[in-house]
Subunit: 326 residues, 2 copies
């Protein structure tokens, strides 16, 4: 049973109903028998999962996105999110998945799980599917300050992460900017670029503009959390309007009842949705924390659990910990 | 002839070949007889346009995106971009369209065309087509600093612009942020929000996240030029990958030869492309300057010319000039 993956799921405090989270998790577990799930949340909503061999950690307190971070850190001592993170910190589970508020997850993760020694703050990383394979982007909203030392650490984290989980030998690292020419963008990005290009252990390839994200010219794109989050959500918005136009045009062409058109549109939708709604991870911590999209459905929960399992198998935190930069 | 629109076109210095620019412009002019075009560029490439009643201002010097702004401002005294802007400043034409480098266009515009008295710096604004109508976003890359006074001015410019060109009575103004809750984002955005909500002449409705851009909850989204440009290019990237997936799935379904499927896919493509590749405008100047996308085609040139014509008809600079904020 050395390969057993114990994954916790925070079932409270998101826009996704607990029943949908449970359904998505059970669907996932059916295809992944080596995964044992630990549901954190209200006993009465979770009782059914025991029938499938999973466990429940009862917990009543949830966190809403409208609460202040100080209030959450000081007064919410037994929220489902915090309990899930504590299970990771105590090695009772190998990873936790939460659909809750990103800011709260970031703040509580830092309170509960130690940072890896090389890094000052966690960062949020996510995979997108480009034309020629995966591309990872970080930070997607954990740190909104555009600061040299943080951006350099994100490049290191991202490089190690892409090696561990993407099995890339020398991931191509680039910096999100608003032009590829040297004079473009703020001064601090030029300083980061200069430092990254002098770091022998990193394969820094220069600036990436957001319209090149999917082109296969880079493996890891580094951004401050504000710009990264804007990019992520702009992609979500553009994908939403793409679905909207596709459906409108199928209707206009009288194809909205055609089985073939529906199945093609559905496959396009699935591929596009994966871009936006798959899980993202908090990295830089000595533990695995996966953030599922707040407005996800059962398919999204399955994606987040799959990501947690991949990170367990790849040993992400110990890989990042052992990684030396020069 | 009071309604004649005289529009200049800078035909050099972009990734779009002059022949494609000329073709797009002539296509546009055929449907807009009140528009008289003035082509700025190499005589030998432009001779043909005279046959159609348009004029040529001969000019050999082009600006590349790799030149330094200081070099452009000091030494490129007769570039096609600068000559086009000078024709606007001298009221010899009513608007100019350029496919050239954004940074150069911004710098030369400020050198050649006076600012409107209320504003410190020009901003780049662009219309997107949302689910319930147009939405404008600014700044898309003219000013990369996130500064209170500039963001407030962008809100004022954007509001006046949406009134003039969108004929909206009280445009809903919002601020791009990475969360809609009050605690999200950098401090300066909270200060801007506070100031905008106290400005009686503005209909400020709060924060917008980039995934809500197309939802019809706001008319004008205000951002610093770095974030705005990241949003714009992320949308372009996501639309590119949407096309890619649509084509792949049509091929996989054996529909890539079906006339109906091709025509539906083409209409989806056209609608999506309009999001990304229509023209954007520099506003805040006492003159009309439209930036066409650098990698545009003849259809994009037509869109940019149409936008220039709309701004001439709406009297954008004089509308912005007369606008009082309180």
């Amino acid at each position: 049973m050395a390969d057993l993956c114990r994954i916790g799921i925070d079932t409270l405090g998101s826009e996704t109903p607990t029943s949908e989270i449970v359904q998505g998790a059970l669907d996932f577990a059916r295809g992944h028998e080596e995964c044992q799930l630990v549901f954190v949340g209200r006993e009465d909503e979770l009782r059914c999962v025991r029938e499938f061999g999973h466990s429940v950690v009862p917990c009543e307190e949830s966190i809403s996105q409208y609460e202040s971070l100080i209030g959450i850190l000081r007064h919410k001592r037994n929220s489902s999110m915090k309990v899930g993170l504590q299970l990771v910190a105590a090695s009772k589970i190998d990873a936790v998945v939460s659909t809750g508020d990103t800011g709260a997850l970031m703040a509580l993760s830092r309170q509960v799980i130690p940072m890896l020694p090389q890094f000052d703050r966690p960062s949020i990383i996510k995979r997108f599917d480009g034309k020629r394979g995966p591309v990872w982007m970080l930070d997607l909203g954990a740190n909104i300050i555009r600061k040299l030392s943080l951006l350099v650490q994100f490049a290191q984290m991202g490089s190690a992460y892409a090696k561990a989980i993407g099995r890339l030998e020398r991931p191509r690292i680039s910096l999100l900017n608003i032009g590829s020419e040297a004079r473009k963008g703020p001064q601090v990005l030029r300083e980061v670029a200069s430092m990254l290009s002098r770091t022998a252990s990193l394969n820094f390839v220069g600036y990436t503009e957001a319209d090149q994200l999917f082109d296969g010219t880079t493996d890891v794109v580094v951004a401050d959390g504000f710009s990264g989050n804007v990019a992520l959500k702009s992609i979500e918005g553009a994908i939403g309007i793409s679905h909207y136009f596709i459906e409108g045009e199928l209707r206009a062409a009288g194809l909205d009842d055609s089985e073939l058109a529906i199945s093609v549109a559905q496959r396009v939708r699935d591929k596009l949705s994966a871009q936006a709604y798959n899980g993202a991870s908090l990295i830089g911590l000595n533990g695995i924390v996966v953030k599922s999209h707040g407005r996800t459905d059962r398919v999204g929960i399955g994606s987040a659990l799959r990501l947690a399992k991949e990170e367990i198998k790849a040993g992400v935190p110990s890989f990042l910990k052992s990684f030396q930069f020069s």
